[in-house]
């Protein structure tokens, strides 16, 4: 393969050799001299007053170095950081907490004390010796009950569990509904639940903290998606100067948003290291991960839609209720407001969209960003609404979608929600998907099979989502991304990115960008990330933004250095810089291609500098910050076919087609991988996954024996295709693909199963028993 073909090439990943041989280093793979081990004692109650804690026996266990409770943290460690606290209550402290429960526990898994010991086994044993007296308090684990005036309160001083309530007047939208009915149209109404999920990255969280007292320097290794944000907030939380904290993110075993956060254990390990003067390691156990790492989704939504009798949607009306859990984590409070509400028009040119929203505390683990973060909830509501309308007007769901799509010539398009979509061609993706699955034939087969008593169904989802976040004002800090590009003396290139990939493969795709731009072999490029002492201030990897935002910074860095190299090459070739071009790793002069210097020769000249003219600054290094002016809006259509066993209610997915449009693809192999993984997580939500608490606030899904996720035998072979509608938001024309599969798949699977059973709607997860009850009217 020629270097010029690097962009868009399905090359295999450069990360993989260390990963497939067991040589990669995750946090738990590290040992520091004198390192201690931390374990966390957690609440077994959903809501309780702590009347006493006795740590004597635990402290006396041989090997135990320290036992720490909230008392020890007072005035030394600040609250868990929250990125965007919302008025009125949250800005006044509602939902904020110290890293250890102070007087009260509010969810099963709430950290109460830590043990630091010479080894893990002793640290675990000591937990059993800590005596805590709890006085149980009334529990509220249901979000709608939590909104009732007589509900038990998590924060009695605020007199409510509702943190923020946005209820604009609905008079205008109600008039549209009335008008639609008067004109012979239809309306639909449904309460739909987007259940609570556990992100379940295969690597649990982990931290190592090392503190050097002589100059108050904290080194913190963390399995994180956000090294710089973690560094900045943790420094503040611990009362250290920002430059006294260095965060290093080694290999990370998946995140899906769950590591886009600053958790109690980071501050706790750091505090323990500062207290003991020895490095402290904490590795989360899976039962802790399921109990105390953030959960995702958990919205109860009321959806209403009005449409003409042909199925043209005239208005959408939503009430979004977001279950925050017991405390605020980094983005807990803004997921519904910032990411669900703007997407409530989906891919459809609906003239009127109304939403009201309540975000509410309950006695459960905090919720926060999980793959899709607010957009899957929006897509699910809109896609379900379109299906219900199709059912009401007795038209095919594909036809109703085609009737309502925003048309290609309408972009850029401001939706009724206020969101500005960059580009799109929704009908093209849907039509391609219909062709691939041979939709008409499939529907005909469905009729035949149904006649024979088979429960077969087909579901369509035409999603759109927000990526490439983002422009100014989205968060209290700019969501730009950064790259430092350095060309070394031999012509090799090092890129320090402010993003923090953890499985997405940017060590490969970013190198493809550089290799492509400079015309040098990819082996000559090294991509480094995850160390706040060497990488420029960045925002990390989440929200499908790494390539669109971080990749653009890398690309712009390469352009800047290319210009400088042209100047140097011009001096070497005694030509005018504007006549010099770079091709296949050679700088040459227009008109005289035999007059050339190699990329490496120019790099050597720049770095050794003796031969450089005085007016050229030595070295080849630049740092670029890219802040997009707008977001990107990837889209696509997924079609799912299922068969349900009438005796048992078990679902088999028989076909799955996905046509996605993420703009230009730098590495199609990696794009497909992201879509595969996303689809399967979405199938997981549709069919299997659910975090369950009982009414007493006890978590019932504490291990993978109870929290079901997709495994290989449950899945069909996925059939992928794509369309390419570039975006003008960034010069690469890329949009983002990390969450698309998850957003697109869930509604398609639910629609297919509802179709198979001939019902309008079924709440997820579509477990066999639930379906069996519908089939048998139990």
């Amino acid at each position: 393969m020629g270097i010029a073909a690097m962009l868009g090439a399905p090359i295999k990943r450069r990360e993989d050799p260390r990963l497939i041989t067991g040589q990669a280093t995750y946090v738990d793979d590290m040992k520091l001299l004198g390192m201690l081990h931390m374990t966390v004692l957690r609440s077994t109650y959903g809501h309780a007053q702590i009347s006493s804690i006795n740590t004597d026996a635990a402290s006396q266990l041989p090997g135990v170095v320290a036992v720490i409770t909230a008392q020890d943290l007072k005035n030394k460690v600040g609250n868990i950081p929250v990125a965007a606290p919302l008025p009125p209550h949250i800005t006044r402290g509602m939902g904020r907490r110290l890293p250890l429960a102070d007087g009260k526990v509010r969810f099963y898994g709430d950290p109460v004390a830590i043990v630091v010991a010479e080894n893990r086994y002793v640290a675990r044993d000591a937990l059993d010796l800590i005596e805590i007296d709890y006085e149980p308090l009334p529990v509220v684990s249901d979000v709608e009950k939590a909104m009732q005036p007589d509900a038990p309160l998590l924060y009695p001083e605020f007199g409510t569990n509702v943190a923020v309530s946005m209820h604009p007047s609905s008079e205008a939208i109600d008039n549209i509904f009335a008008e639609t009915i008067a004109n012979g149209g239809v309306i639909i109404k449904e309460r739909i639940v987007n259940q609570r999920l556990a992100p379940s990255a295969m690597e649990t969280r982990g931290v190592i903290a090392e503190f050097r007292k002589s100059d108050s320097t904290l080194n913190l290794w963390s399995s994180s998606q956000i090294p710089h944000l973690l560094r900045n907030y943790l420094a503040e939380q611990l009362g250290l100067l920002q430059h006294q904290v260095r965060v290093i993110v080694p290999e990370v075993g998946g995140g899906f948003g769950s590591k886009l956060n600053i958790y109690p254990e980071e501050a706790l390990a750091a505090f323990a290291a500062m207290q003991t003067g020895r490095p402290v390691k904490w590795i989360e156990d899976r039962d802790e991960n399921l109990a105390a790492t953030i959960h995702g989704r958990d919205q109860v939504n009321y959806v209403e839609a009005a449409a003409t009798k042909e199925g043209r949607v005239t208005a959408l009306k939503f009430h979004v209720i977001s279950d925050l859990g017991s405390y605020l984590q980094f983005f807990t409070d803004v997921i519904a407001i910032a990411f669900t509400l703007p997407m409530l028009s989906g891919s459809y040119a609906v003239p009127h969209v109304y939403s009201r929203c309540d975000i509410v505390f309950t006695n459960k683990a905090p919720t926060d960003a999980y793959r899709g973060a607010g957009r899957p909830e929006a897509t699910y509501m809109v896609e379900r609404a379109l299906d219900l309308i199709a059912r009401a007007v007795k038209r095919d769901p594909a036809e109703v979608r085609l009737l309502n799509f925003v048309q290609p010539e309408q972009f850029p398009h401001t939706m009724a929600t206020g969101a500005l979509y960059d580009s799109g061609n929704y009908a093209a993706a849907l039509e391609k998907a219909l062709d691939l699955i041979e939709y008409d034939k499939l529907r005909a087969e469905q009729h035949q099979k149904r006649a024979r008593g088979k429960l077969v169904g087909i579901g369509i989802s035409s999603y759109v989502e927000i990526c490439g976040i983002g422009p100014k004002g989205v968060a209290p800090f700019g969501l730009y991304e950064s790259a430092r590009v350095r060309i070394e003396q031999t012509g090799t290139v090092i890129v320090y990115t402010g993003t923090s990939p953890h499985g997405q493969g940017e060590e490969t795709t970013f190198a493809q960008l550089i290799s492509n731009e400079f015309g040098i072999p990819i082996e000559d490029v090294l991509i480094l990330h995850g160390d706040t002492n060497s990488t420029p201030e960045g925002r990390g990897t989440y929200g499908s933004r790494t390539t669109a935002v971080g990749g653009t910074a890398v690309y712009q860095g390469s352009l800047r250095l290319k210009e400088k190299m042209k100047t140097i090459a011009a001096a070497m070739l005694e030509a005018n810089p504007s006549d010099v071009s770079l091709e296949d790793g050679k700088f040459s002069v227009a008109g005289t291609p035999q007059k050339s210097v190699s990329f490496a020769q120019v790099a050597a000249a720049a770095n050794t500098s003796n031969t450089l003219p005085m007016d050229i600054e030595p070295g080849l290094e630049t740092t670029v910050f890219f802040e997009p002016e707008a977001c990107t809006f990837p889209f696509g259509t997924h079609i799912c076919a299922v068969e349900v066993d009438p005796d048992t209610g078990e679902v088999e997915i028989t076909r799955y087609i996905a046509v996605d449009d993420c703009g230009k693809q730098i590495n199609p192999l990696l794009v497909a991988g992201q879509i595969h993984g996303g689809i399967v997580q979405g199938i997981g939500q549709a069919l299997y996954e659910e975090v369950v608490y009982n009414e007493e606030g006890q978590l019932l899904t504490t291990t993978f024996m109870d929290y079901a996720m997709p495994i290989a035998p449950y899945l069909p072979a996925l059939e992928l295709e794509h369309t390419v509608t570039p975006t003008l938001v960034n010069p690469l024309g890329v949009k983002g693909v990390g969450e698309a599969g998850t957003i697109g798949s869930t509604p398609a699977v639910v629609a297919a199963v509802a179709d198979a059973l001939g019902v309008a709607h079924i709440d997820m997860p579509l477990k066999a028993e639930k379906l069996w009850r519908i089939i048998h009217h139990q």
């Binding site: 086994y121 675990r124 019932l700 024996m705 996720m709 066999a768 069996w772």
Partner: protein, 288 residues
């Protein structure tokens, strides 16, 4: 941090040695075979034995052999050996077939038939299969060796007829009568792969096409491992047509104390026991 509490470890080389230690430590001791039931419970500290007697090193307890009137499996026979056993495929396909549904290949490489039987977990597959096969469990204790019929062995959840100082040394399966068919299947919990409801069936059909013997056991659905005696009674002396099988299967968990949890309500388990029983009987019948 999932690690067992502290215990003393006693690897033993003989059954006698294991029994002597059981006598010495009484309730404080547990027997470790493959460890795939015991170790997870110890890691979650649901059980904290002070003494662990590892019978793994005892030689000659992992075997499958055909004797004159029985097929005998040593207590340490691993699931994988059962899956691959030609003898079992020939005489009792229910065993390799059912075993292939236990856990996953890694678990089947470690788990032992004796360990599973002695654990008496009603959600496990093996106890039900052993029960349907009318196995005789050979147990050895301080007072020597005795044989317990599977029907008498499984007393309750995690409770067997074993005395404190006894261990299972072998499982004897009577040789099947001619025209005997056996099968096992289950509807699984999608997370743990344990049975929501499973059925093990062994049927014998005579020349007239009548069922002369039926042995049916239900896994997963109830709080203890049970024979479905009402199903058996409804099959015996009958010609097994669809209607008879469907009607008989509907009694799969009659009078049983059913499990109800987030993976399946009692009602669902009851109905699924009927569904899976019908399917398994059909399958066993094809093999008879």
């Amino acid at each position: 941090m999932s690690v067992p509490a502290v215990f003393d470890y006693h690897p033993v080389q003989s059954v006698d040695e294991a029994i002597a230690l059981l006598q010495l430590y009484g309730d404080e001791a547990k027997i470790l075979a493959g460890g795939h039931s015991l170790l997870p419970a110890m890691k979650l500290r649901l059980t904290q034995p002070e003494h662990l007697i590892d019978i793994g090193p005892i030689p000659n307890l992992a075997y499958i052999r055909k004797e004159k009137d029985a097929i005998v499996l040593g207590t340490l026979t691993r699931y994988k050996q059962i899956e691959q056993s030609e003898i079992l495929h020939k005489y009792y396909p229910i065993l390799p077939e059912g075993t292939a549904l236990i856990g996953d290949q890694q678990v089947r490489n470690r788990g032992t038939i004796g360990g599973s039987v002695a654990h008496s977990d009603p959600a496990g597959d093996m106890p039900g299969i052993v029960l349907a096969l009318k196995a005789q469990l050979v147990v050895q204790g301080a007072n020597g060796t005795r044989t317990i019929a599977a029907d008498d062995f499984f007393v309750d959840t995690f409770l067997t007829a074993l005395e404190q100082d006894e261990i299972v040394t072998a499982i004897r399966l009577p040789l099947p009568a001619p025209h005997t068919g056996s099968a096992y299947a289950k509807i699984s919990n999608k997370a743990s792969h344990y049975a929501i409801a499973g059925c093990a069936a062994v049927l014998t059909i005579n020349k007239k096409g009548l069922c002369t013997s039926a042995s049916i056991a239900i896994t997963g659905a109830s709080t203890r491992i049970i024979r479905a005696s009402e199903v058996e009674a409804a099959l015996i002396s009958k010609k097994l047509d669809d209607a008879t099988i469907t009607s008989a299967s509907s009694h799969a968990v009659a009078n049983a104390d059913l499990i109800s949890d987030i993976h399946g309500s009692a009602e669902y388990r009851q109905q699924m026991a009927a569904v899976i029983t019908r399917r398994v009987i059909m399958h066993a019948l094809e093999r008879a």
